[in-house]
């Protein structure tokens, strides 16, 4: 990515441009979730009682746990960048590894959370869900859509950071060239950023 080969031995990497490209991509992600946030806002004002009732079903404790998990993982990935800038590849690898473990913990919590909803037959299209008032259907629909899309981003971020870890091991990402680590970290922070809004909107406000 953003690497241009010039002569036989000089490799030119424009990290500013590479980073800007990443930010442009993050803007599209922001609007992808932004659309859902707008739907949420309008539906909440239209069906405030149903939203109140439905939000009580969600487990705020799991939501809060996952918030802490993601915040800590955001710090470890940021520290990994510091480590490589300070020429400590092993520490950088370890910190990425911890980030990946935390991503796994997040997904595990999500699995139990969704699993519980499914065991109650609460999922889009189920008879239980169809029998709910219209506003509650909207709430759970948005809940599954938003947390599902977010979980997909956690998985993609996990894959991206695994690639980063492999390249750190092989020395392809090093003190001189760490654009991929920087961009991977930016993506991971975006995942965190979206969760910062999802958590209060879905789990806290009832």
């Amino acid at each position: 990515m953003s690497t241009t080969q010039h002569s036989e031995h000089s490799e030119y990497i424009d990290s500013d441009t590479g980073k800007m490209g990443m930010w442009l991509f993050l803007f599209t992600e922001l609007f992808l979730f932004g659309g859902l946030f707008i739907v949420y806002a309008v539906m909440r004002s239209k069906y405030s009682d149903d939203f109140h009732q439905a939000a009580l079903e969600l487990n705020a404790f799991i939501g809060a746990t996952n918030t802490v998990v993601l915040l800590v993982s955001s710090m470890t990935v940021a520290m990994s960048l510091t480590a490589i800038q300070k020429s400590k590849p092993n520490l950088a690898i370890l910190l990425i590894f911890i980030t990946l473990i935390l991503a796994g913990v997040f997904m595990m919590n999500k699995y139990f959370e969704w699993g519980h909803k499914f065991s109650l037959h609460l999922y889009p299209g189920s008879d239980v869900m169809k029998s709910l008032p219209h506003g509650e259907i909207m709430f759970f629909g948005l809940y599954f859509m938003m947390t599902g899309l977010h979980a997909l981003h956690v998985i993609i971020g996990g894959i991206l950071l695994t690639i980063v870890m492999v390249k750190l091991k092989s020395g392809k990402i090093n003190r001189e060239h760490y654009l991929l680590l920087e961009n991977g970290a930016l993506y991971w922070h975006l995942v965190d950023l979206i969760w910062i809004f999802l958590f209060p909107l879905l789990y806290l406000i009832t």
């Binding site: 990497i13 424009d14 990290s15 500013d16 980073k19 800007m20 930010w23 803007f27 922001l30 609007f31 932004g34 946030f37 707008i38 806002a41 309008v42 909440r44 004002s45 705020a60 809060a64 918030t67 802490v68 915040l71 800590v72 955001s74 710090m75 940021a78 520290m79 960048l81 510091t82 800038q85 300070k86 003190r175 001189e176 060239h177 760490y178 654009l179 920087e182 970290a185 930016l186 922070h189 965190d192 950023l193 910062i196 809004f197 958590f199 209060p200 909107l201 806290l204 406000i205 009832t206």
Partner: protein, 94 residues
């Protein structure tokens, strides 16, 4: 141009940022229990916005980026805010 002229955030700064974010999370969980009525959503969103700003500034290094990138990011967030405000004006006066 290589990466190595970039600003390096210290480990302690990262840790401080995390602790601040955790404190704000606790505040928002506790604040919800007080029931501000119509303002509950506003309070929760205000705290979330502060947290988001901290993540953008420190974890995502915007504080240390060039002016162009900072203007781009603020511009996009401004645009997003305008979209939301206009949606609500449209929706409330229908």
């Amino acid at each position: 141009m290589k990466n190595h002229d970039d600003h390096i955030s210290s480990y302690s700064l990262n840790l401080t940022v995390l602790l601040t974010l955790l404190i704000l999370t606790t505040v928002s969980v506790l604040a919800i229990k007080f029931h501000f009525g119509a303002f509950t959503v506003a309070v929760a969103l205000l705290i979330a916005s502060v947290k988001a700003a901290i993540v953008l500034t420190y974890f995502m290094h915007l504080k240390f980026e060039n002016l162009l990138l900072r203007l781009m990011v603020s511009g996009v967030f401004l645009l997003f805010a305008i979209v939301i405000v206009i949606t609500f004006i449209d929706y409330s006066f229908r």
